[in-house]
């Protein structure tokens, strides 16, 4: 079982030694089961750190803010940022390194192993508890979660309330780290793409109907994009901010401005948005599942990325985030790459 005290000790030490600027971790929330992000500068504040099955976040997304902040500073502090990661999150760091969005010296990685469990799916838990409110959730001794409700503590096998992503996880312990907390346990996932079968087995018309219904729900809040550590573009196609129009801008120039999609949340535009995002994540998504967790309308966004992950694996034997030195999927080719699509 992961020892929180060990995490606090390591965190406190690197802050005291001045090894890091601050640590990106999680602290409990005054309201609700999920913790909230914490940015810890002072060694005494490490006491706030928590680690439990409700630590669903992929904190590597905050490296984007750090990079932007640093770019604005005249004399930026070059010290690394401490960051707490699970296995899946550590794969995100590898992708960010591979793409040279960050350098290895930018981060001091406090890796935590999920061992034989993972993170909680709040909705699954709510169904299990049938209306009772979970006040606290902790790791148990035997691959289970200990849930505190107003009626006391109950134990639930982790498998029953784990997020789908954890049931299909390929990296249950960090693949890159400076400090590892917890053990590199062995785990056998028979089919990491099992959840896809439900949709893949549908005939094309029904699959289209399924996706149309889902995508039509989208209100384009862009939470899926905003929470994604891979969506770090300075300017996203959905909100064009660099096209400056002055009173002198001729009509032709304005007309030539490419408008990728309209703001209207209608089928065609919603599809463009979700497909653009899915394709941009091909060979990059590390399946942290955060896009799906945050969607207020429960669109199963993860399936889109998962399907492309499967294609990359089957066609090119490519997996994202295990090796920061491998050439990226879309910018490299091998002689033996399949080419049946060329006719």
């Amino acid at each position: 079982m992961v020892n929180l005290e060990e995490l606090k000790k390591e965190a406190s030490q690197i802050l005291k030694e001045g090894k890091v600027k601050y640590i990106i971790g999680l602290q409990s929330s005054s309201n609700g089961l999920l913790p909230v992000p914490a940015f810890i500068k002072n060694p005494e504040d490490v006491e706030k750190l928590v680690w439990n099955p409700a630590c669903v976040y992929n904190l590597t997304l905050f490296l984007r803010d750090e990079k932007r902040r640093k770019a604005k500073e005249k004399e930026p502090d070059e010290k690394p940022v401490g960051i707490i990661v699970k296995g899946c999150d550590s794969r995100a760091i590898n992708v960010l390194l591979q793409e040279e969005f960050i350098k290895r010296d930018d981060v001091y990685i406090l890796g935590i192993s999920c061992e034989n469990t993972g993170v909680l799916d709040e909705k699954k838990l709510a169904k299990k508890l049938k209306g009772k409110k979970a006040e606290k959730v902790e790791f148990g001794e035997k691959d289970d979660f200990v849930i505190t409700t107003e009626d006391g503590k109950i134990k639930i096998a982790a498998q029953e309330v784990l997020s789908e992503r954890c049931l299909e996880c390929k990296a249950h312990f960090p693949v890159i780290y400076d400090v590892l907390i917890g053990e590199k346990t062995k785990r056998n996932i028979e089919n990491p793409f099992k959840s896809l079968e439900r949709i893949e087995s549908l005939p094309p018309e029904e699959r289209w109907k399924f996706w149309k219904e889902q995508i039509d729900k989208c209100i384009r809040c862009y939470a899926c994009r905003s929470v994604c550590p891979m969506c770090y573009c300075d300017e996203c196609v959905v909100d064009t901010i660099s096209f400056v129009v002055t009173p002198d801008t001729p009509a032709e120039e304005k007309a030539q401005k490419i408008k990728w999609l309209e703001k209207s949340p209608v089928s065609s535009e919603n599809f463009v948005y979700h497909f653009v995002r899915a394709i941009h994540l091909t060979g990059r998504c590390i399946d942290c599942g955060e896009c799906e967790r945050v969607c207020p309308l429960d669109i199963p966004i993860r399936f889109l990325n998962k399907k492309l992950e499967k294609e990359a694996k089957e066609l090119f034997d490519y997996e994202a985030g295990f090796d920061p030195d491998q050439p990226s999927l879309v910018s490299s080719f091998k002689d033996e790459d399949p080419e049946d699509f060329i006719r």
């Binding site: 929330s29 005054s30 309201n31 609700g32 999920l34 913790p35 909230v36 992000p37 940015f39 976040y57 997304l61 905050f62 803010d65 909705k123 409110k133 729900k217 209100i219 384009r220 809040c221 862009y222 939470a223 994009r225 905003s226 929470v227 300017e235 909100d239 064009t240 901010i241 400056v244 129009v245 002055t246 309209e262 703001k263 209207s264 949340p265 209608v266 955060e290 967790r293 945050v294 207020p296 309308l297 429960d298």
Partner: protein, 346 residues
Amino acid sequence: MEKVLLKKALPQWVKKLESYTIYSPQEEGDFWNYEVIKNAEIIDLDYLNTVLSPKKIIFPQREVLFEFSTSNEDELKVKEILPEERPAVIFGVRPCDGKALTLTDKVFGGDFKDPYYWKRRNSTTLVGLTCNTPPSSNCFCLSVDGSPHSKEGLDILMTDLGDKYYAESFTKKGDELLNSAKALFKSPTAKDKKDLEKIKAESKKKIKRQIKATEKIPAKLKDMFASPFWDDESLSCIRCGICTYLCPTCHCFDMNDEVTSSSPIKGERVRTWDNCQFPDFTMHSSGHNPRPDKASRLRQRILHKFQYFVELYKNYQCIGCGRCISKCPVGIDIIEVLEKARDYGS
């Protein structure tokens, strides 16, 4: 007008309203949302808070304002497209969401009366439902001048008395609805009235969350525009648009021309919801962005709701539904932000 309706007679009432488009909360997987219902039997008022409030019906996320086209002679034709004036009824409006419409009424009903908004607003009858128990653990209506049985903005307020609903009508539109099925409604007995008062009194006690001393906040915020407070509070914000798109009172919009044919030119001018959390929100044509970062965007959301709106309209632009708290991906809690602001520097 005050009447009682047996619960099992609700579908019969709805059936009588066939000249109206009927909206009611529907369960979609793990959440509830307002949908048009075709079958009166599926009406279900035992629901939790909907993800989107009835705002999405009165002020839809996308609305065509007019169509434009050029003929062969290069003559520009513009045709105004106003919403169809089809009467609608929304069942199961939470009192806070009803109150929210009184706030958007102020915005769209000032010197310029927005015809698109008012066509829908005037042709829609709102049937509210008292929150006997709070529909969300983040409800805090009592702290923003609301109540779980507020009648503000509603035409009818129904209260669940167990096997029947107590229906209070406050408007002509509401009376018409009750009169459309006279045989189904009975006059309330003295016991019904007593039960109603009891449930209403208890409903208030069940609201767990509150902002203490909300009234002190607007004046305090006035001096906090340049405070580093916003940098700290927005550290974990990821710049998504959930808080504002789900907010029943947020009303900012954008207008764009959607061109469907370039020769001859044909298209529509479309109004869509806009979002102060997005980087292109009120971006100037010069390239200047008045809110260039997430701190200034969070500040905008809070100040608009608890300072600017109060100065303009004497109301908080927040109805305490708790949607922004429940759905924030990183747990930013408006109650906490406001209380911290209230106590900041003291």
